[in-house]
């Protein structure tokens, strides 16, 4: 086996709660191991070199969406990013822009997503008061169920928000995540809201007409969600209202 490489990590460090602290980049070196991911590397750095390093991981398997950060200029999930992807061994880590910074690489996506959900009412508004759970369920076409699941796979990682130019210019923009969720409920035959109802929420510059179609969301979404298609679909729906 060939000699293991030495990786160079350049990491954004800033503690907003520490009086006088200034944002800076700090460089660390680490010996690469086979199959190493940014998750494994960051934990090793914290355990052996700097215990104050802040970052977020939960599932470490690409399922929960907690570890999004900007890696060599590209926002993505750190847990499933292999260090082997970077031939020159230089890896630059920055926190996701567009969210409140907790410290270093940790940002408060949870707070953002909860507020978005409350603002856009991102839950099912069922079409009947019938809540009998003892009787046979209402049938749904298998195709509809599959389509709903396809749109529902968003993990609220925040990557699309960080990659969106409109969002960087206008903080009130709902972003691709908000539009994708609206599209998911719009498609759901169980939801009572009409295109008119959705128009009141996203039929403006903060919603579907604010999008500049630069498609950073589509290019970076770790779940390969069809943002472009959904935004176009919603625009057509909203324009018709």
């Amino acid at each position: 086996m060939s000699q293991a490489r030495t990786l160079t990590f350049s990491i954004f460090r800033y503690d907003p709660q520490e009086p006088g602290d200034k944002p800076k980049m700090v460089t660390y070196s680490l010996t690469e191991a086979p199959g190493m991911t940014v998750f494994i590397a960051l934990n090793q750095l914290r355990e052996t070199q700097d215990p104050s390093l802040q970052f977020d991981f939960v599932c470490r398997a690409g399922i929960c969406g907690s570890c999004a950060m900007v890696i060599n200029g590209f926002p993505t999930l750190a847990c499933r990013t292999l260090t082997a992807n970077y031939p020159d061994g230089h890896i630059k880590l920055m926190p996701l822009p567009g969210f409140e910074l907790i410290g270093d690489l940790s940002v408060n996506t949870g707070k953002f997503m909860r507020e978005l959900s409350e603002r856009l009412a991102l839950w099912l508004h069922p079409n009947s008061a019938d809540n009998d759970i003892h009787s046979i369920e209402t049938p749904m076409s298998p195709e509809e169920a599959t389509k709903l699941y396809e749109l529902e796979r968003c993990v609220e990682c925040g990557v699309c928000v960080s990659a969106c130019a409109t969002k960087q210019m206008r903080d009130t923009f709902v972003g691709a995540v908000g539009l994708m969720k609206i599209a998911r409920f719009e498609l759901d035959s169980r939801d009572t809201r009409t295109a008119d109802d959705f128009y009141h929420v996203i039929g403006n510059q903060d919603g579907v007409f604010g999008c500049m179609t630069l498609l950073g969301c589509q290019d970076t979404c770790p779940k390969d969600l069809p943002h472009m298609k959904q935004i176009a679909y919603l625009r057509r729906k909203m324009a018709a209202v």
Binding site: C59, L82, L124, P142, A145
Partner: protein, 666 residues
């Protein structure tokens, strides 16, 4: 110290915790949830395969009902479960699935007509009934007689958690994120809430409530390789242990999942085998039929994990830099099936292994997966020792899983347990007053403050990261799939030594606010107590039952061990817990202990087993052949449920019969 008051406090925002919170809020109680992370990132999201519920919509589920689900669950538990709880659970599971559909879960649905499936590595055509079109589908899972696992592709946990969290948001239930509960406030008889620490600001806060529900998940991360999220560290169990009063149940019951990828331990769902995938050894040989001719790859998880380990011990594993592994082959399922029903698995294979499971076999080996043990509760979810303390989901030993959990029963337990226990929590909130003893609050607050001060200001020399790694290695090496006396003794000795050393932790980072090293130090002391509890329980239990497999005691010994291990930690300075046992009453069992259906039947019978068996037969004979299954069940083992959940579950076969009858009348 800031004090926040509420009626219902829930610690943990996964499926179980959120479901309890919803039940309480719907009853008009002030409800608040604490979580380490945003709710939608909870470990519940990682469940892939689905949840069991006997809907019987599919042809392969035809004839399924609560009775069969109950029997599968009890057998799966190796008779270690609480049969009352298994009954409550099996009865409410179909209700939970239907409720979730109303909350937005896009369950995969049945398509009428012919479709091809893989059964026992062969293509088989099955035909779904026309009338079942559009009803909720189910797939096959290990240890079940029927296809009973309802799913959304292989993202069932994701769909469920998002629907339930959305419901919680719609009800306006606040979730205090990045708050870590670190001690329970109690007076030895009643629990009054928690002291928690904010992971951003470091602020300590008291949350005072009528009831406190621990729903913090399992303790998988006391092992070095686990399928669990990194937050599943057993702190909920440690909170209960630290009261010195509350007991934990069956902590030695730890499940290993057969198919986690090597080396990182990320799970590939049991749905891979349920849908027709097979296991192969280094020669490409499918070995499971040799060991378990009847159920093969779909034997219970504990059985498959042990058979895989046995096979690797025979030198049949594939050598790798990370030790031997086996292959999971899902290539026979084809691209279309994998792209739609196993897409998470596909993504994991692509991102972490750089392989395409449509073409390549997946390197797998058994890995720590589930904690059957937890905070001991009564059937209503409440601690028998501390009134007002409830626990639910994987955090609890409600005890429907006994010594081995069936796949598809954990996701089900979170929501089913949550809905049932949520009712009891709401009852408690309505029937009890908020008790505020400011001295007691201050005392617990001060205790935690002192602990933090000592860690920051003390002169300790032990590195929390190193202690944790040492603990995880001991658990992996000596308290794993196969266990034996000498190794377990070694584990107990080494773990207690680490626990002793944890009194001398020292920190390099001296920040009082967001400080990952401080977080680690506060946790590792607590995790070590949990690890010692697991190892002590395993050493004492000189039999093999479910996932607890003793090489030196291979028999399931009902005569001496048909009981539940209870552990508490009354002396905070002691290095070992106190253990006692709670007998399972064979004379109350609906299903007396019997052969589980795997390997040789080597169980040592309980003296009451035969007596109860005869009694069961006599009761059934007396009822006669005309009695329906509900009457039989009620005569054998009546069980309690909140009134709203008592109605029977309708199945589509019932409506068929009714339609036939109606048309017959015309």
């Amino acid at each position: 110290m800031k004090i926040i008051y509420t009626d219902t406090l829930v610690v943990g925002a996964g499926l179980a915790g959120l479901r309890v919170a919803i039940a309480s809020k719907e009853r008009g109680l002030d409800t608040l949830v604490l979580s380490l992370i945003p709710a939608k990132r909870s470990h519940s999201v990682a469940a892939q395969g689905g949840m069991q519920a006997s809907l019987a919509n599919t042809i392969k589920g035809a004839g399924d009902d609560e009775d069969i689900h109950f029997q599968d669950t009890v057998k799966g538990s190796d008779w270690g479960c609480d049969q009352d709880v298994a009954r409550m659970f099996a009865h409410c599971a179909p209700k939970a699935v239907r409720e979730l559909a109303q909350w937005g879960v896009p369950w995969t649905r049945v398509t009428k007509g012919d479709r091809q499936v893989i059964v026992n590595a062969e293509k088989v055509t099955i035909t779904e009934a026309e009338a079942a079109h559009g009803l909720i589908n189910a797939r096959d899972f290990g240890g079940t007689k029927k296809w009973r696992t309802c799913y959304t592709a292989d993202g069932a946990g994701h769909s469920l958690l998002y629907a339930v969290d959305n419901k919680a948001i719609s009800l306006g239930i606040p979730v205090h994120e990045r708050m870590e509960a670190l001690s329970l406030i109690h007076d030895g008889e009643r629990c009054h809430g928690v002291i928690a620490r904010c992971l951003i600001t470091g602020e300590l806060r008291a949350y005072i409530a009528k009831s406190t529900t621990i729903a913090t998940g399992g303790y998988g991360r006391i092992y070095s390789v686990s399928t669990n999220a990194v937050i599943c560290e057993g702190i909920g169990q440690a909170l209960a242990l630290d009261t010195g009063v509350a007991t934990l149940g069956n902590m030695e019951a730890v499940q290993f999942h057969p198919t986690a990828i090597v080396p990182v331990g990320i799970l590939t769902t049991e749905g891979c085998r349920g849908d027709g995938g097979v296991l192969r050894d280094k020669d490409g040989y499918r070995f499971m039929p040799d060991y378990e001719p009847e159920k093969k790859e779909l034997a219970s998880r504990d059985v498959v994990s042990r058979r895989m380990t046995e096979h690797m011990r025979k030198g049949k594993g594939v050598n790798s830099p990370y030790g031997p592994h086996l292959w999971l082959d899902i290539t026979l399922l084809g691209q279309k099936h994998i792209d739609t029903n196993l897409r998470e698995v596909k993504e994991i294979c692509e991102n972490f292994l750089g392989i395409d499971p449509v073409k390549n076999w997946i390197p797998v080996r058994p890995t720590q997966h589930y904690s059957m043990g937890g905070i001991r509760t009564k059937a209503n979810g409440e601690s028998p020792q501390l009134s007002g303390l409830f626990s639910v989901g994987e955090a609890a030993c409600w005890d429907m899983h006994g010594f081995n959990r069936l796949g598809g029963n954990s996701l089900a337990e979170t929501v089913v347990g949550g809905m049932i226990i949520g009712k009891y929590v709401a009852d408690f909130g309505e029937q009890n007053n908020l008790v505020v003893d400011t001295d007691l609050i201050a005392q617990f607050g001060k205790q935690l403050q002192t602990e933090v001060d000592q860690l920051i200001e003390g002169e300790g020399t032990e590195d929390p990261f190193k202690l944790k790694a040492a603990m995880q290695k001991i658990m992996m090496d000596y308290v794993g799939i196969f266990r034996n006396g000498p190794e377990l003794e070694l584990a107990v000795n080494q773990l207690t030594e680490l626990l002793d050393r944890s009194k001398n932790l020292g920190l390099k980072c001296k920040k009082r606010h967001a400080n990952p090293e401080l977080v680690e130090a506060l946790r590792v002391k607590r995790m070590l107590k949990v690890a010692v509890t697991v190892a002590c329980g395993a050493l004492a239990r000189t039999e093999s039952r479910g996932a607890h497999s003793r090489e030196d005691f291979p028999q399931r010994n009902d005569q001496d061990w048909l009981n539940r291990t209870l552990t508490s930690w009354p002396d905070a300075n002691s290095l070992r817990p106190e253990m006692s046992y709670e007998a399972l009453d064979v004379m109350r069992m609906e299903l007396p202990p019997g052969y589980r259906g795997y390997g040789v039947d080597n169980a040592i019978a309980h003296p009451d087993t035969q007596k109860r068996q005869q009694q069961v037969e006599a009761i059934l004979a007396e009822l006669g052949d005309d009695a329906d299954r509900y009457a039989k069940q009620a005569a054998l083992m009546p069980f309690e449920l909140p009134e709203e959940y008592q109605p029977r579950n309708q199945r589509f076969t019932d409506t068929l019969a009714k339609t036939d009858a109606e048309s017959g009348e015309k």
